[in-house]
Symmetry: C2
Subunit: 683 residues, 2 copies
């Protein structure tokens, strides 16, 4: 066994690519898919003499984008900085033309369209704005392949523009702090898939993450020392601006605000003292909406922050206030009676109305989660919905503007296909009039950070977010899941080339768990498990999780979506539908044998590593499931129906092994269940 295992290992490419046989050069790995793409005949060769030129006036942002484009193109082709230069538009291979001047900062709703015309001798990229031109450059990069005669792009004509003007990614830097380089590489990823809003969740119960010069105790006492200086904020905003990405800061209030109160307890509705929250959940502390001091503080604070963040929108959070501190505070209760505020929601509405005026005074439009929606707020606010399209549609009908995040929560561990199926104008928003639909700006993928660290956050964001980006950009009719997954795998490689780590971080994490360089057996297991879904990790945890808990277990290394299990499931579906080739069947059997035998190899390792110990039952369950699958396959092969007893036993085992162990799920369990059902003669 050892020799065959070693034999297998050395054959290894480094990723499971079952049934992944698409060859760059045969297809074009565009993501998001352009609105109009017409393929011509022939190709434009990309050699060291390639050049890019800007016709007409070039703003500095476009010039820097062109330099980055050249650097990315050199990376794709393995060329050197002496190759591929800027040139006069008259001599350049790729000529970029931009119609209108921009003010240097992307505004919501600005024209982001572009057209790209590639012939055998050159290419022309035209756009109304610099932002559109940058999208066109990304499309050009995605078209580059290694061809028979050299690197190439196909002769093609593209007309492209986004379906939605707000295509965002939210990163929660409060619950776990994310260093600036983590954010930068994610901004690079966003630009590559044409996203244009970075929503920066900057304060929560577990941390206040921005330097305030007016109220320095916010970061001094509220951040454990992990915060962004104002210089770093400016640096990140400039980095994003250069990539056509708006930065919307969020300072959550009046709830989710314990970290503020460590330095400024007088803002709170309860007496304090306060400490930075270490656990997850909804907590009681909330700002005192009845105190003039609160508004004075927030006016000065918002004034400071709106100067730091140039975007037109300012996010005040506004979610999940449980009202307990308000209920327990006689002064607040008395205020509510005096002002005719019947419920905590009324009181929060009062707070929001006053905050909105402050935000507006500082020149910004207020944004918040669903809860802020109250008829007394002006129509220029923006609702970010974690509740769903119906909630959003309701707001739109009332004349409010909004964007969808429900369905795009990356921390819930859903497959890309599930996010891909969610449409900001689908379901409860499907019956909106065209006019109302325009009130819905798009959506945002949300990376809440209870269980991510700088090491594994990329693997939670990417590549799934690229599928969401396609939902926001491409025509609504773009819905082929198979095509999406094929392109997603390729785009993921390109994203790694930009510095993202969703694939590369897997291996050191597995080595750490194994306590060994020999991760072959652990990887066989890890490749078919996923972290438990939704909010189960917190609820089934034997000890209450905290923000200091190491994130170094199998659940932290395992991908949110197992490619191997998805492909195995597809094979089983083919088999059950009578579409399987003999090769498919052989593959199913090979996989099952591999999984069945893997536990024998993994068990001895588990005695040596404390991180492998909890994995042992998972490994055993995988082996059991595989044995069941093999038995089912044998029945199918023999054309013999199993006993009812066997069927009942095996389905019970599948059910049992479908339960979380070590907080991970074995993702081949449903397919094994379908094999058992098929063997038992069920359709």
């Amino acid at each position: 066994m050892k020799s065959i295992l070693i034999f297998l290992i050395i054959v290894s490419a480094f990723e499971p690519l079952l049934a992944q046989s698409s060859v760059i050069g045969e297809k074009f790995q565009l993501m998001p898919i352009p609105a109009v793409f017409q393929l011509g005949t022939g190709r434009l060769l990309i050699d060291p003499s390639f050049s890019i030129g800007i016709s007409g006036r070039a703003d500095p942002i476009l010039l820097r984008a062109a330099e980055r484009f050249l650097a990315d193109l050199r990376w794709k082709t393995g060329m050197l900085p002496l190759d591929m230069k800027m040139a006069d538009a008259g001599n350049a291979v790729l000529v970029v033309h931009v119609d209108h001047e921009t003010n240097g900062l992307l505004q919501l709703g600005e024209d982001e369209s572009y057209s790209l015309n590639i012939t055998m001798t050159g290419a022309q990229l035209s756009a109304a704005t610099t932002w559109g031109a940058m999208h066109g450059l990304q499309t050009f990069l995605q078209l580059v392949t290694t061809g028979p005669d050299g690197f190439q792009v196909p002769v093609a004509t593209i007309q492209d523009s986004p379906r939605f003007p707000w295509r965002g990614l939210m990163i929660d830097a409060a619950r776990h702090f994310m260093p600036i380089e983590v954010l930068k590489r994610n901004l690079d990823g966003m630009a590559a898939v044409k996203m244009n809003v970075f929503h920066w969740h900057l304060s929560d119960n577990q941390g206040f993450r921005v330097e305030s010069k007016k109220f320095p105790k916010l970061q001094e006492l509220g951040s454990d020392g992990f915060f962004y200086t104002q210089d770093e904020v400016r640096e990140l905003v400039a980095y994003a601006r250069d990539r056509g990405i708006r930065v919307v800061p969020e300072f959550d209030m009046p709830g989710h605000s314990t970290a503020w109160f460590v330095g400024y307890p007088e803002l709170a509705s309860g007496p304090g003292p306060y400490a930075i929250e270490r656990k997850w959940g909804v907590f009681d502390p909330a700002m005192d909406p009845t105190s003039g001091r609160t508004y004075k503080f927030l006016d000065a604070f918002i004034g400071e922050m709106t100067k730091l963040f140039p975007d037109k929108f300012f996010h005040i959070g506004g979610d999940e206030v449980n009202g307990k501190q308000w209920d327990a505070n006689p002064k607040i209760q008395s205020f509510m009676r005096t002002h005719g505020l019947k419920t905590d929601a009324d009181l929060q509405g009062y707070f929001n109305t006053r905050i909105q005026k402050i935000v507006a005074k500082h020149g910004k439009a207020m944004e918040g989660w669903d809860e802020i929606l109250r008829p007394d707020l002006p129509k220029d606010i923006v609702i970010q919905s974690w509740r769903g399209q119906a909630s959003l549609a309701e707001a739109a009908k009332q004349g409010y503007r909004g964007l969808l995040s429900s369905g795009y929560y990356l921390d819930l561990g859903q497959p890309a296909s599930q996010h891909y199926a969610v449409d900001p104008l689908g379901d409860g928003a499907a019956d909106l009039s065209a006019e109302q639909a325009k009130q819905i700006f798009g959506g945002e993928a949300c990376m809440w950070s209870e269980y991510v660290s700088p090491e594994n956050i990329d693997s939670r964001i990417w590549p799934r977010t690229a599928a969401i980006a396609e939902r926001f950009w491409s025509p609504q009719s773009t819905r082929d899941v198979k095509s999406m997954y094929e392109r997603l795998a390729e785009v993921s490689r390109d994203l790694e080339g930009l510095g993202l780590t969703q694939n590369s971080s897997y291996f050191p994490m597995l080595r750490r768990i194994a306590g060994s360089d020999d991760i072959a057996t652990l990887k066989i297991l890890a490749d078919v498990v996923e972290p438990v879904k939704g909010y189960a990790r917190g609820s089934i945890s034997p000890v209450e999780p905290t923000n200091a808990m190491p994130l170094n277990r199998l659940i932290d290394a395992a991908r949110p979506e197992s490619e191997v299990a998805r492909n195995f499931s597809d094979l089983v579906n083919s088999l059950n539908a009578g579409r399987a080739t003999p090769g498919d069947k052989e593959e199913i059997r090979s996989f099952l044998m591999l999984w069945r035998d893997n536990d024998d190899n993994l068990r001895p390792l588990a005695t040596k590593s404390f991180l492998l110990k909890e994995v042992a039952p998972v490994s055993q369950a995988l082996s059991e499931l595989a044995e069941t699958g093999l038995q089912a396959l044998d029945y199918l092969d023999r054309g013999e129906l199993p006993s009812d007893e066997w069927r009942t036993q095996q389905l019970a085992l599948v059910e049992q092994d479908s339960q979380a162990k070590a907080q991970v799920l074995i993702m081949i369990a449903p397919a094994v269940g379908r094999l058992v059902a098929a063997a038992s003669g069920e359709k």
Copy 2:
């Protein structure tokens, strides 16, 4: 076949680890091996409460080193910034004590020793200097493993000090410019293996790479725009200083200096004009050693640079002057006659004598390559020998000081074992007296950059340089090659954790060549080839190489040392020595079958990618070799002697397939030849 191939791929770990079964936790992956290492019983657990404290006075460099140590320890254990803190020495788990104050800059010969005492409850690290303490922290990090109850280090006592005080790595940033981040990650790697001199080759015919404020045309006209600003130099010097690494700049003169003359042709011995050199080799242009203007310029230039580089040593190159410009210049010839200088070497000696005085005037000791050694130079100069130990010993006998680089040229593509066998005090220097031997400071690995880019330079430097670092640090008796290779593979993983890319860069390079994500077949081939050795790449190139030539071919992706081929060779040696197990034999056969059949899979891909086209003959040769090996194995199995004709034919084929194709060598060829010989009854 497809299904079994896919089956193989999904099993993949991501690196060939044939016969690599050592488990961290069973062994300690120390590299370099300490002078004295005594293992005790038990272990010290490393958990989130781990802390480090500094007893006594802590200089800022040590404090920053402790913070870096904690960051590295968190990376090794997957812990978060809230874990593992600095603490008072009284409460810390690891207590560091340093005896003497340093002046903040490592000096040649300073005490770098340390002792580390680890018990089950804590650890004590003591050192004479901050530099020694930093080495001890690296040793501690290497000892951390994943154990049965948690992360751990073993109970142990270590007394350690370096064998040589000068343990260097030279990087040529002139022929191909290396951005500052490439250098930084390599400095991190150096610190991890206790190297202490970064020799920065900053000018050559192909580029002048430092900003001079006094002579700005040096970089403006001599660098293609690729140079280090003075701020970047200061930043890098500070980065190195923080890691206990001296930075020795080299400005090559009077030869290797074409790039200077583009801006300042008046320095040259020929009329000019000059252009940056694009090709490789030794060129005619040389400074005019007879002109007062030259010395005036160099005095001002060296004055400027010695202020920028605080190290005591200043490297003037001095190698490979062909003298042609001197011979052709009547004024220079006349000067030589007037001054009694008979040869070009005499003239260069005259030049060096004058430069040495300038360097000394600016407070530095002059360093140069072998050629500078002339009896008229004072004894404080340092000779860096590319000629070998005999040349070095000769210098030492004359009272000069020196270091060895011959045998450590990383660009020649030698295996780690070959570098490891070279000893600065071996061979021609073995008979030096103890006193003379002290004149030899150690050595430097040299990374000349004709054929490296930022993408693949790490794979040429690492991990082989770690073996060289062990040669410079560990006792002379440390010579077990098997142990070295086992530890080297592990250390290489840790180095990647520091940001080096020697393993990770392989995969995108293969994907680019394949023009596909499906790199399994290409990797099978690439894993057993190596770039041609020595200076063959230039000499056998069909077109003359230049510095703008893309470095994106198989030769650029292939590792200097094939681990798979080395391990296969070991298996064949076992077989031929009668020591092979049935499993070993099965492995040999499995490998040979894999290689034989691989060409069928690779050939269709080669029609789609121009970078694969040149690989096709290599793939075919591998298949032929494997077929030969299988036939030999069959003869051995049957106990039957082949015909002489078969033997002659097969050895001819092995000989033919041992020749370079596409400028790479198939490294299994010698082992296949030995199989043929063994089958033919030869011992």
